[in-house]
């Protein structure tokens, strides 16, 4: 089959519909390796979109390549937990073995090695993606073998299967993970009760969104249900947000691996309540390996009459489609996710209007977290009264935590809301902990004197990440890792976030080079105040949280790096000559300049 035949086949499968651009680009790239200018022109013409829009989308996502990439593309997950497990040394060793500079494709076009944002394997790192396939638990031994396989150009599909094994690591089950529902049970209960009464149960159960913000699920569904569809394509949509991009979070990975039926059933219940016949699951690109198992789980449900027309003998019709993301943290924000579903760059929309009235294809849409939808099955089956007995008054039910970092048993822990940080630390075997990053970089960093605080919307709300740092860790480096993350993931739409995240990253790097002064600390606070108030969305608003928290709680980690008490320029005269030294091969005293401060 020629390239154009292949592209045509992909386009036809997607009805030459531009709103399906993300899926078209991914499938074509999986075949061709990259998206050449000619390929983009061909696709743009076929879907009838301006070419600039197609290239605009292709260039937005980290996992799309508009320039040739190596036949082997190795991406090291670069969350702080991967760092703590030694990914930097491993990546360095890999580059040396392959005679590579990070980020550069080798001269022969064979391989490139680079970093990527957290791939959702913090409980079994250091993790890599090779040609977008997840590999866990990298070691020096594995690395040597991998370099050999790359050199011999062995296809990734023939690499040792155990490298691709992803463990669930479920350590504590509560009502959700220990459920005994059979597929269809929750949905039958919902159908029997009808949409209005099911909505009533969800509201009475006081279910709140598990993505971190904690908005009432019942109110969201109700607003969506009450909103009118518009125009010829009038419809309601259910979107499951499985773009689990917050570094240190991996609970959705486990839910989609071993509890997919519960998630799909929750989507169906949401569909019944809001009056939708179509559901979309937006799966992060890092979880590409889950696509086939999820597709087959959907097929099984269709065969069992749990999806499709006349579900379980009623007139309820609902089906689910899976869309893959392509490496963009911002798509976890619900309106950016919808933009991505429509084939566009993941740029958060101006709100209001909110997705419940103007969502996917401008139609009423409810966007819910994977865990929220799964939890709705428990309420549909057992009722609100039973559900609300668990957890606290304001935070009913349970929360799944993704525990990683310095502890003996990283993995998945489900607790009723209200559990103390102490308890979690004890259960996961963490000793001498100095800090826990709750809910990832955009969340909150708490110090030892706060370990009595509780996981609940009224105290410590969380999307699930729980990263533990023992007393040997440098909390400045933790914050610096997060600053780099936000600078990489800022969508670039609004000025404070686009430029601010880079300024913060540069200031943190300056302090790391021992060039900082109290002046730079003041600058960090100033940027925090600006970005928190003026940014377009939550990314920019929370991007300085880790810096702000560590500055307030771990000030000595910064101060011991500050050499001067006055202003210190970032510009280092001697360092500026390093390129000239490299080019001339000189390193004698005459090739060095002393800085004024030292002179």
């Amino acid at each position: 089959m020629s390239d154009t035949d292949m592209i045509d086949a992909v386009l036809d499968r997607h009805r030459r519909d531009g709103t399906r651009l993300m899926q078209i680009l991914r499938e074509v790239q999986e075949q061709l390796g990259w998206l050449s200018p000619a390929t983009l022109t061909y696709i743009a013409t076929a879907v009838g979109w301006p070419r600039a829009m197609v290239s605009g989308t292709a260039s937005f996502y980290s996992f799309f390549h508009t320039r040739p990439r190596g036949r082997y593309c190795v991406l090291w997950s670069d969350n702080i937990t991967d760092r703590m497990l030694g990914n930097a040394d491993l990546m360095d060793a890999m580059c040396k073995k392959l005679w590579l500079e990070p980020g550069r494709v080798s001269e022969d076009g064979l391989v490139s090695v680079n970093t990527t944002s957290c791939t959702g394997m913090s409980d079994q790192g250091p993790a890599v993606l090779v040609n977008y396939r997840a590999i866990t638990r990298m070691t020096q031994a594995r690395l040597g073998e991998m370099v050999g396989l790359i050199r011999s150009e062995t296809p990734v599909a023939e690499w040792p299967a155990e490298w691709f094994a992803v463990e669930d690591n479920i350590r504590r089950k509560d009502i959700l993970l220990a459920h005994d529902l059979v597929p269809g049970q929750a949905l039958s209960a919902a159908l029997e009760r009808g949409p209005e009464k099911t909505l009533g149960e969800i509201k009475d159960a006081r279910l709140r969104g598990r993505g971190g913000a904690g908005f009432s699920t019942g109110l969201k569904w109700e607003a969506c249900r009450n909103a009118e569809g518009r125009g010829a394509g009038a419809a309601h949509y259910v979107v499951c947000n499985a773009d689990e991009g917050e570094p240190g979070t991996f609970k959705d990975r486990v839910l989609l691996t071993s509890y997919a039926d519960l998630v799909f059933e929750g989507m169906s219940i949401a569909g019944l309540v809001v009056g939708a016949s179509s559901g979309l699951l937006y799966l992060r690109g890092e979880y590409r390996y889950l696509l086939e198992p999820l597709e087959s789980a959907l097929a099984t449900r269709r065969e069992a009459n749990l999806l499709g027309k006349n579900i379980l003998g009623t007139d309820f019709e609902f089906d689910i489609e899976i869309h893959l993301g392509a490496g963009a943290y911002i798509c976890g924000e619900e309106s950016a996710l919808i933009e991505s579903l429509e084939g566009k760059p993941g740029r958060p929309r101006i709100r209001p209007p909110f997705p419940v009235t103007h969502g996917y294809l401008d139609q009423p849409t409810t966007v819910n977290n994977v865990e929220t939808l799964a939890a709705s099955c428990l309420i549909a089956t057992h009722g609100s009264e039973w559900y609300a007995q668990h957890g606290t008054e304001k935070s009913t039910g349970t929360k799944i935590l993704s525990v990683s970092g310095d502890c003996e048993r990283p993995g998945i822990y489900e607790y009723p809301y209200g559990v103390s940080v102490h308890q979690v630390l004890e259960d996961c075997g963490a000793t001498d902990s100095q800090a826990v990053q709750i809910s990832g970089p955009s969340g909150i960093c708490i110090a030892e004197d706060e370990f009595g605080r509780r996981i609940a919307f009224e105290d410590l709300p969380t999307a699930g990440a729980f990263m533990v740092f023992d007393e040997t860790r440098d909390m400045f480096e933790v914050a610096r890792n997060f600053a780099h993350f936000f600078a990489h993931e800022s969508c670039g739409f609004c000025t404070p976030c686009r430029v601010g995240t880079t300024l913060v990253r540069n200031l943190m790097d300056k302090i790391a080079r021992n060039h900082g002064s109290p002046y730079d600390i003041d600058e960090l606070f100033k940027l925090h105040r600006l970005m928190q108030g003026a940014s377009h969305c939550g990314l920019g608003n929370s991007a300085c949280n880790p810096v702000f928290d560590t500055l307030n709680k771990f000030r000595p980690a910064y101060e011991r790096r500050l050499q001067s008490l006055d202003y210190e320029p970032a510009f280092d005269l001697d360092a500026a000559l390093s390129q000239a030294r490299q080019m001339t091969g000189r390193d004698d005293a005459g090739a060095h300049l002393q800085n004024e401060a030292e002179a």
Binding site: P37, A52, M53, S55, G56, S59, P345, T495, A534
Partner: protein, 237 residues
């Protein structure tokens, strides 16, 4: 106009029509809220964040926020202008802006706003990005060094010219840029014309007509004659 439809902007009564944003009502009234990406002819883009105001004590973008009766809007306070100055400095360091040699000097909304807000220096280290110019088109020069990502050319080309010559693409500080609607990425290979609305919409000096330099001497240009804040009503940057 409903008599109750009045809000307070720095203590001044501003009347508005239902559905108008704070920015629309203020501009219509002749009151100046600093802005770069907003243009009265188009829907709000909301990216520059220069128009950030405090509404009943909370920050918001005045170009996207609907006016409501009785709102108390803070605009030209020391706190807000200080934030705006920092945002302007961000623009100046993320691009390559050399005002003295720029044909747009004196007609440039970025420069005029920086004067208005008394920005004395770029403050931060310059990023010096590599942004090649596109001189391929016979009548138009594109100098992306000055781009402030306002998307006005994208909107004007799409909505007025019906051409879609431009699109915003890429991500973040390194990636985000204007994409040109041709496989070569060159303006010459599009149907762009010097008479397009998009050719005259740029608030800074990215989109410039060729063979027309300094026709109006510096010192006699739009913002040389009066500061931008005094041209709120007629200013369409």
């Amino acid at each position: 106009m409903n008599a109750n439809n009045i809000f307070q902007l720095d203590g001044e009564d501003i009347p508005f029509r239902s559905g108008q944003t704070i920015m629309q009502a203020a501009t219509h009234h002749g009151a100046y809220i600093p802005h770069l990406c907003w243009h009265p002819d188009f829907a709000a883009h909301g990216s520059c964040k220069l128009c950030t105001v405090k509404v009943n004590g909370r920050f918001g973008s005045s170009c996207t926020m609907e006016a409501q009766p009785g709102m108390n809007v803070e605009n030209r306070t020391a706190e807000l202008d200080d934030k705006r100055r920092t945002l302007l400095q961000m623009f100046f360091v993320e691009g390559n802006h050399f005002c003295p040699s720029c044909e747009k000097s004196g007609n440039c909304a970025l420069q005029a706003t920086a004067y208005e807000l008394k920005m004395m220096s770029p403050h931060f280290d310059m990023f010096y990005p590599d942004r090649p110019v596109d001189a391929s088109h016979p009548d138009i020069l594109l100098d992306f060094n000055r781009c402030i990502m306002c998307s006005l050319c994208v909107t004007a080309s799409r909505e007025v010219d019906g051409k879609n010559v431009f699109a915003m693409g890429g991500r973040g500080i390194l990636g985000r840029r204007i994409h040109i609607n041709s496989e070569s990425g060159l303006l010459a290979d599009t149907d762009f014309a010097v008479t397009d609305r998009a050719a005259s919409i740029c608030p800074v000096g990215v989109i410039l007509p060729k063979r027309k330099g300094f026709a109006v001497p510096i010192g006699e240009r739009k913002y040389d004659l009066a500061p931008i804040s005094e041209q709120a009503k007629e200013t369409t940057p």
